[in-house]
Amino acid sequence: MSAVPENLSYTAEHEWLLIDGDVATVGITQFAADALGDIVYVALPSVGDSIKPGAVVGEVESTKSVGEIFAPTAGEVLEANQVVVDAPDTVNADPYGNGWLIKIRFSELPELLDATAYQALIQE
């Protein structure tokens, strides 16, 4: 079973957020990456895009299936990680590190899960 880092927040859509001031770095969890299998294609929103919570803002595709990336908060896209676009398998190899997807400047955060609650969710 994959470890769930304590310092991150999580959504029920298997995304993680690293909150730093009003900027959230967003990625998908190890659990989500493992469920997809080898990721071969990542599409991300453009820098400057304004996003609405729950909207589909990108996708992560494996040989087996397609996963959508949902905006976890409202805000503006500050950065999109070109590393995962060029080398999608980075998401499998390092989902909480180099495999991050986007950085968002947000105004307010929705309710998020902590590591314990997310761990409980994926063990269901």
Partner: protein, 368 residues
């Protein structure tokens, strides 16, 4: 999630497999990486647990005549120890299941059916056997089925403790031989679903884990890799092989699916003879589609003409691990089904350019 377990379940758990539900069975979807497993089958060999598949035993004085009536082709013409791809047709000419029939004797056949169709295939066969002197028995739980597929599969088999009754070197494609493993009766078929050379080994369920362990022990040093269902799907897709529920079903005829060769219209009488399913998709035919880039058409996506008019639907698709570009199979209107014809696929709202290509997308160099 806890489904039915194959006799090899504990082996997969110990190997660290990720599981998925497939037709009610808890099956390994992968052990490590789908792509690595896929490439291993193309370049070395992979070992697969196919014990979820159904085995239906048919025996009796009229077994051959019964199968000629119940199935699509002329099974009575099969030689002993031959395997044959066949279809179980509905009375209206659709496909209830696709099968491989193995002839063990003049009056004895074993049919391998899809796991998802175990009940329907068995009950259809049983119902169709009423007027024949034949016994039809669901033997699925008695057999484990282990596949070894890939260019070095023969080397792996020959290094194992499996003892065939005749030399494995002489076993031809779509033939099988009986044999034994530590005193247990087994059968080794040169069949598969990956587009590679390979074998499928029928083992009594109680001895499956010993055979698997032996194949791993001798095979892994040679390059054998444990393989899950995820790579099995991309392998068969590249090889242009249909999957029931995707390319095959009650609403398409064998001819539409490109399987006319599996139907023998010279037979006197058989279920589904001369019938074609009638419906909105009856003018469509199965084709291959290839695209560029990395996004793949997926099952259920609409296929459009270059003018944007809906003309069909994707049945299976993936970024081909071997070829590096997206490949898909789709049913499309026959007037668009010419090779190199340009079409579009609606990939979640954006249009992906594809062109029609003859199947298969990938074929190995033929061996003897």
């Amino acid at each position: 999630m806890s489904g039915t377990h194959t006799p090899l379940h504990a082996v997969h758990v110990a190997a660290g497999a990720t599981f998925t539900d497939f037709a009610g069975y808890d099956m390994p979807v992968r052990y490590s990486s789908d792509l690595e497993e896929h490439h291993s089958v193309r370049t070395a060999a992979g070992i697969f647990d196919l014990s979820h598949m159904a085995e239906i035993d048919v025996s009796g004085p009229q077994a051959a005549q019964f199968l000629d009536y119940a199935l699509s082709n002329r099974l009575s013409a099969m030689e002993m120890l031959q395997a044959k791809y066949s279809l179980l047709l509905s009375p209206s000419g659709g496909v209830v299941d696709d099968l491989i029939v193995y002839r063990f004797g003049a009056e004895h056949f074993l049919i391998v059916a899809n796991a998802s169709n175990r009940e329907v295939a068995f009950s259809e066969l049983l119902a169709r056997s009423a007027d024949f002197d034949v016994e039809v028995r669901d033997d699925s739980d008695a057999w484990a089925l282990i596949a070894v597929q890939g260019p070095i599969s023969r080397e792996v088999m020959m290094a194992s403790s499996i003892t065939p009754d005749s030399p494995l070197e002489d076993l031809r494609y779509y033939r099988f031989i009986t044999g034994e493993f530590q005193g247990q009766p087994i059968a080794i078929a040169r069949t598969g679903y990956t587009g590679e050379d390979g074998y499928e080994v029928f083992v009594p369920a109680a001895h499956a884990s010993e055979v698997w362990a032996d194949l791993e022990a001798v095979g892994m040093p040679l390059g054998l890799v444990r393989c899950g269902l995820a790579c099995r799907d991309t392998l068969r897709l590249e090889a242009g092989m249909p999957l029931y529920g995707h390319e095959l079903g009650l609403d398409h005829s064998p001819a539409q699916a490109g399987l006319a060769r599996a139907v023998d219209h010279t037979k006197d009488d058989f279920v589904g003879a001369g019938m074609t399913p009638v419906g909105p998709t009856s003018s469509r035919v199965l084709v291959g589609l290839v695209g560029e880039g990395k996004r793949a058409p997926r099952a259920g996506y609409a296929v459009l003409s270059s003018e944007g008019e809906p003309i069909g639907e994707v049945t299976s698709g993936a970024l081909s691990p071997t070829l590096g570009y997206p490949v898909a199979m789709a049913y499309i209107d026959s007037d668009h089904a010419t090779p190199r014809h340009s079409l579009l696929v609606d990939v979640r709202g954006s249009h992906l350019s594809v062109s029609v290509q003859e199947l298969p997308f990938y074929s190995r160099k033929k061996v003897a």
